[in-house]
C-alpha cells in the first residue's frame, strides 16, 4: 500500500504501531463490553449466593450495596474498565483476595504447563511433519523413473497417520490413557506422579513441580501436535518444488539440508503462527487436563470462580485472557514478517526493521520490488 502524501511526515513504522495499538484498544473495549454484557444479562445474583441460604432480604440488600451491584450498569462498567486500565483489578468478592495476585500465582502453573506441552508437541510434530512432507507422490514417481528403489513403507507416513487420529482424541481420554501408561499407582510403567503439584509451586520445590507437570503436558501435547504436524507437512510440500530449493540443491546441498536451511524458513510463517495460536488456545484448552491432574492453574481458577459466581473476578480474568490473545496476534504479524521477507505489509516490514534495530537494513532494496504488490 502506498502511503499517501501528508502535510507532515510520520515514520511508517511508527504509524504502523499506532495503527495496531488503536485497533488493539478498540478490540479490547469491544471485548470488555461483550464480557460485561454476557455476565450481566445472565440470571444468578452474586450477592444472594455469597450471603448464603439463610440470609435475610435485608442482609442481601446490604451486601449488594457494599459490592456496588445496585449502581446503574453503565456506572459499574466504567468503574471496572477504569480499574482495569489503571492496573488495579480490585479484590475478589467472595474471599477478598487480590485478583491480580491470584492471577499471577495461577499463571505460574498454567504458563509452564503450556510451554512444556508446546515443547513436547514440537519435538513430536516438527521431525514427523518435515519427513512426511518431503516424500510426496510426485517424488516417488520421479524416483521410480530414475530407477531408485521405492520404499513403500515410510515411517514418517506411519506416524503421520497415527497423529491424524490423535487430533480426534478427547482431552480427558488422552489424559486417562497417559495415566494408564505412565502414571504412578495405575500405569503399566509407573514412573511419573499423576498428581501432587507442590503448594509452593516453582518457587519452593522446582524439581517436584516440574515432574508433576510432565504427565499433563504429555497428554496435551499428543492432541496438539497433530495440528502443528499437519501444517508443517503441507507447508513443506508446498516448497518442495520451489525454485529456491532446486537452486540450493544445485549448489551442493542435499535435499534435507536445503529443506532445513531454506525451505523451513520459507514455510516458517505458517508454522509459526499455528504454533502461536495453538499456545493461545492451550491457555484455556487445558482446563480438562488441569482438573484431571488436580493442577491449580488459571482455568481451574476460572472454573471455580464461575461456580461461585464471582463475576467481578471472572470478567477481569476473561478480559486479560482476551487481551493476551489479541497482543499475541500482533506479535505473530511482526515476527512473521521477520521470518519471511516476502510477506506482510510494507509498514510491517518497516516495523520489523525498526524492532530488530536494522537487522535487515543491508537488504533494503528488496522493498522497491514489492511496493506495488503489497
Amino acid at each position: 500500500m502506498r502511503t499517501k502524501a501528508r502535510f507532515f511526515h510520520i515514520n511508517p513504522s511508527i504509524s504502523y504501531v499506532l495503527h495496531r495499538v488503536l485497533i488493539l484498544f478498540a478490540s479490547t473495549i469491544l471485548a470488555s463490553i461483550i464480557i460485561f454484557t454476557i455476565l450481566r444479562i445472565l440470571p444468578g445474583d452474586t450477592a444472594t449466593i455469597i450471603a448464603g441460604k439463610d440470609a435475610s432480604v435485608g442482609q442481601v440488600e446490604r451486601l449488594r450495596e457494599k459490592m456496588g451491584l445496585n449502581a446503574p450498569l453503565i456506572e459499574q462498567y466504567f468503574e471496572w474498565i477504569k480499574g482495569f486500565f489503571t492496573g488495579s483489578l480490585g479484590n475478589s468478592a467472595v474471599d477478598n483476595t487480590s485478583i491480580s495476585a491470584s492471577i499471577w500465582q495461577k499463571s505460574l502453573v498454567t504458563f509452564p504447563l503450556c510451554i512444556l506441552s508446546l515443547l513436547f508437541s514440537l519435538i513430536i510434530a516438527l521431525p514427523i511433519g518435515i519427513m512426511a512432507g518431503m516424500r510426496t507422490n510426485k517424488q516417488k514417481v520421479d524416483d521410480k523413473n530414475r530407477g531408485i528403489k521405492i520404499n513403500n513403507f515410510n515411517i514418517a507416513n506411519f506416524f503421520d497417520f497415527i497423529l491424524q487420529g490423535a487430533s480426534a482424541i478427547p482431552a480427558l481420554w488422552a489424559g486417562l490413557l497417559i495415566l494408564l501408561l505412565l502414571g504412578k499407582g495405575v500405569g503399566v510403567l509407573p514412573i511419573l506422579p499423576s498428581q501432587g503439584f507442590p503448594l509452593g509451586g516453582f518457587g519452593v520445590s522446582p524439581q517436584e513441580a516440574f515432574v508433576s507437570l510432565l504427565l499433563p503436558a504429555l497428554s496435551v501435547a499428543i492432541i496438539v501436535s497433530s495440528r502443528i504436524m499437519r501444517v508443517t507437512k503441507t507447508e513443506i510440500q508446498k516448497v518442495q518444488d520451489a525454485d529456491f530449493i532446486r537452486f540450493a540443491m544445485s549448489t551442493g546441498k542435499t535435499r534435507l539440508n536445503a529443506m532445513l536451511k531454506i525451505g523451513l524458513r520459507a514455510s516458517g510463517t505458517a508454522i509459526f503462527s499455528t504454533i502461536a495460536l495453538t499456545f493461545a488456545e492451550m491457555l484455556t484448552g487445558v482446563v480438562v487436563v488441569e482438573k484431571l491432574f488436580a493442577l491449580p492453574g488459571l482455568s481451574s481458577m476460572l472454573l471455580h470462580d464461575i461456580g461461585v459466581r464471582d463475576l467481578i473476578k471472572v470478567q477481569s480474568e476473561l478480559l486479560l485472557l482476551v487481551l493476551f490473545i489479541l497482543i499475541l496476534g500482533i506479535v505473530i504479524d511482526v515476527i512473521s514478517s521477520i521470518i519471511d521477507p516476502r510477506i506482510g505489509r510494507r509498514e510491517t516490514k518497516y516495523y520489523a526493521q525498526w524492532a530488530v534495530g536494522g537487522f535487515r537494513r543491508s537488504r533494503g532494496s528488496r522493498n522497491v520490488r514489492e511496493r506495488g504488490s503489497a
Partner: protein
Amino acid sequence: MRVKFSIFMLSIVALSAVVSLFLPSDFGFSADGYSTLQLPSSAHLLGTDSSGHDLFFALIKGSLTSAILCISTLLLCFVVVFLLCMLISVAPKRLQDLILAFLDTMIAFPTLIIAMLIAAVAGGSLFVVVIACSVAYSVNATRVLSNEVRKILATDYVTSAVTTGESKPSIFVRHVFPSLLPLLIVQLSYATSSVLLAEAGLTYLGYGAPQNTASWGHVLSDSASFIRTAPITLLFPGLLITITVLSINVVGDWVAGKVDRFA
C-alpha cells in the same frame, strides 16, 4: 477405504440413535448391586459401569444425544456462516474491514470458558453446548472463509456478473457461494466433530449434558473415577468418540472434494 469405513461408522451411530428412540429408559440397567464394574462378557458386551449400567446400551443411548448435538450444530453453524459470508460479500469495503475486526475480536474468546459461563447460570443443558460451540466455530469458520470470499469477489466471473447488472445478493448465491462450498463443508465438518469433543470435556467439568441424559461424555467421565479399579471401562467410550470424530472429518473432506467444481 477410509471413506467407506467412516461412512459405515457414521451410519452405525445414526442407526443406534434411531434404535435408542425405542428403548425404554432403564434398558440395560441391572440394579442388583452385584453386577457393577464388570469386565466385558457375554451378558454385558462391554462390561458395566459403577452403578450397574450396561456400557454397550449406555453408549447406544448416548448416540442419540451425540446425533442431536452434531445435527443441530451443523445446521446452526451453516446458517450463521452463510449469513456472515453473505454480509461480507455484500458489504462495502469499509464495512468489510469492520466485520473482520469484529470477528478477530470474537476469535480471542475462549470457547469452553464461555460455554461454562452460560451453563453455570442458565443450567447445564445440550442447548447451551450447541449455542456456545456454534457461535465459536462459526466465527472461526467465517474468519477462514472471509479471505476466500474476498479472493472470489476479485475473480473475472464475478466482475462479469457485476457488469451484467446482477444484484449483490444474487451474485453471492449464484457465483460466490458455489465456489465457497468445498471450504465451507470442511469447516462445517470440523465444527460438527468438535462439538462431540466439547461435550465430553464440558460434561466432565459438570457443565455439559445434564445428569439424567445419556451421553458419551457421561460414560467417559464416569469411567475416569474408576481408573484404578476398572481401567478397561474407559477404553470404549473414548475410542467411540475418537472414531466418530475422525469419521466426520474424513467424510467432510470427501464431500468437499465431490462438490468442488474446479477440481
